[in-house]
């Protein structure tokens, strides 16, 4: 079964929960009945420094497990953005957390700049859920997985008692993305700081 694989890269720094986000995204793909492979960068850089989690989603088999030219990239720090943007597909989508990414690198990809961590902090009072906000934004902007799937996947993973918070975080990300999306559709790049 040959089919198109969608490659997503979630990048940032060690403590931002992006590996968990990658796992949730991959699990959402499974909820959608799709195949998926998730990988991540290990090593000294995983602690501090730039790190990344990558997810491939496909209705067919996934042989080569690495993401070569992602279609979607999330960057939650400047360092990660600079380090990993190079291999982003020309026609890809770059979603940056404007809380930390202030300089958008030169790229032909479509760029969405969203204040992800700020949203988490200011609207939810917990920077910790920035990764879930980001997931909302990524899925909202790309539809790599269905909305129901990502909701289910998030709820299945997060600690008991935090479901509501996380669901809210996800929705917020989704909303912001939709707005951004709409605004982009109007032909101008969104700088929602």
């Amino acid at each position: 079964m040959e089919s198109i694989a969608r490659e997503v890269r979630l990048s940032g720094s060690g403590g931002q929960g992006l590996i968990l986000a990658g796992i949730i995204l991959a699990e959402a793909a499974i909820h959608d009945g799709l195949n998926t492979v998730q990988t991540q960068s290990y090593g000294p850089e995983a602690r501090g420094g730039a790190s990344k989690a990558e997810v491939i989603i496909s209705s067919g088999d996934i042989d080569y497990p690495n993401v070569a030219e992602p279609e979607v990239m999330l960057a939650m720090t400047q360092e990660a953005c600079d380090k990993y943007v190079g291999t982003l597909s020309n026609k890809g989508i770059l979603i940056v957390d404007s809380t930390f990414v202030t300089e958008i690198p030169d790229t032909t990809a479509t760029v969405y700049s969203l204040p992800i961590t700020k949203i988490a902090k200011e609207e939810l009072g917990r920077t910790l859920v920035a990764n879930i906000v980001a997931l909302g934004a990524v899925t909202g902007l790309t539809n790599v997985v269905t909305h129901q799937a990502i909701v289910d996947a998030v709820l299945a993973r997060v600690p008991k008692g935090t479901e509501e918070l996380n669901e809210k975080a996800l929705s917020l990300g989704y909303e912001y993305a939709n707005n951004a999306s709409r605004e982009f559709a109007k032909g101008k790049m969104l700088q929602a700081n």
């Binding site: 000294p44 602690r47 501090g48 420094g49």
Partner: protein, 274 residues
């Protein structure tokens, strides 16, 4: 002033990659200040380390530095020291490095009383591999390999060193950084095997999992739990409770290995009669 010890650092390797609030940086600073006080020639000073977060220390210091295999730092250092007794040698080890895989080299270096200065960065955990319990993790703590809390008793590193033959044994903490510096200085001055156990904090792999708060909380815990051995004499067992002692815990006289080996050479060469 950092400027005073700046020369001992490989500045191009800084900032180091230890986590925010990791105690290892503080212990490393104490070591550098100690070497400053000792006035050792950089070229004649060697820092040997094993493998672990702590072991990265050697890479940041501008001496002759050797980053060995996990647990074997003292064995490498034994070769260096015996080969060239002129060199001043500091051996940086993590608690896992020193007392788990490296336990045997530790007791044997102590037994030989070879003039090495062991500085054990004890954060009670395997930091580098992400938080498995070590032989110094206290009982009833959480670690990735102890999801039901630890059941093994921890080593008393100082007791072990002493019973194996070390002639200088001190314990300090990252909080007691000044004392730690002095302990390293005194350990280095001891002609023989010296052990300085430096209680360090690992917020990432130990503190978080064991609800010890942030780095500040952890370093304050050190302040509160440590009792200077000089003060301990006036305290009841009850007052001591589960606190731990710091200071010079043991000091002793014994022939140093490389010096005694020189006597063998003299005898073998007929300088001295067999």
């Amino acid at each position: 002033m950092f400027a005073q010890i700046e020369e001992y650092f490989r500045l191009e390797k800084m900032p180091h990659i230890w986590c925010p609030g990791c105690g290892h940086g503080i212990v490393l600073g104490a070591m550098a200040r100690a070497i400053k006080q000792l006035g050792y020639d950089q070229d004649k000073t060697v820092v040997v380390s094993g493998i672990g977060c702590s072991a990265r220390a050697s890479g940041y210091l501008d001496f002759n530095t050797l980053h060995t295999t996990h647990g074997r730092a003292l064995a490498f250092a034994t070769g260096i020291k015996l080969a060239d007794p002129e060199l001043n040698i500091f051996v940086v080890m993590g608690d896992g490095d020193c007392t788990a895989i490296g336990g045997n080299h530790f007791i044997h270096a102590a037994r030989r009383n070879i003039d090495l200065n062991a500085v054990v960065f004890n954060n009670n955990i395997y930091g580098m591999t992400g938080g498995q319990y070590s032989p110094t993790t206290p009982q009833n703590k959480r670690a990735t390999t102890a999801p039901y809390r630890t059941i093994e008793r921890n080593f008393d590193l100082a007791e072990l060193a002493k019973s194996a033959g070390a002639t200088f044994v001190g314990r300090g903490t990252a909080y007691h950084a000044k004392m730690l510096t002095d302990l390293i200085v005194n350990g280095a001055k001891n002609k023989g095997f010296s052990v300085v156990e430096a209680i360090s904090q690992c917020p990432t792999s130990y503190g978080r999992r064991n609800k010890m708060g942030d780095p500040v909380d952890m370093i304050k815990w050190q302040k509160e739990q440590a009792v200077n051995i000089k003060a301990a004499g006036n305290m009841t067992q009850e007052q001591l409770g589960d606190k731990f002692l710091i200071g010079v815990l043991h000091q002793d006289e014994a022939p140093e290995y490389t010096e005694t080996y020189q006597e063998i050479i003299d005898r073998a060469q007929g300088t001295v009669k067999k």
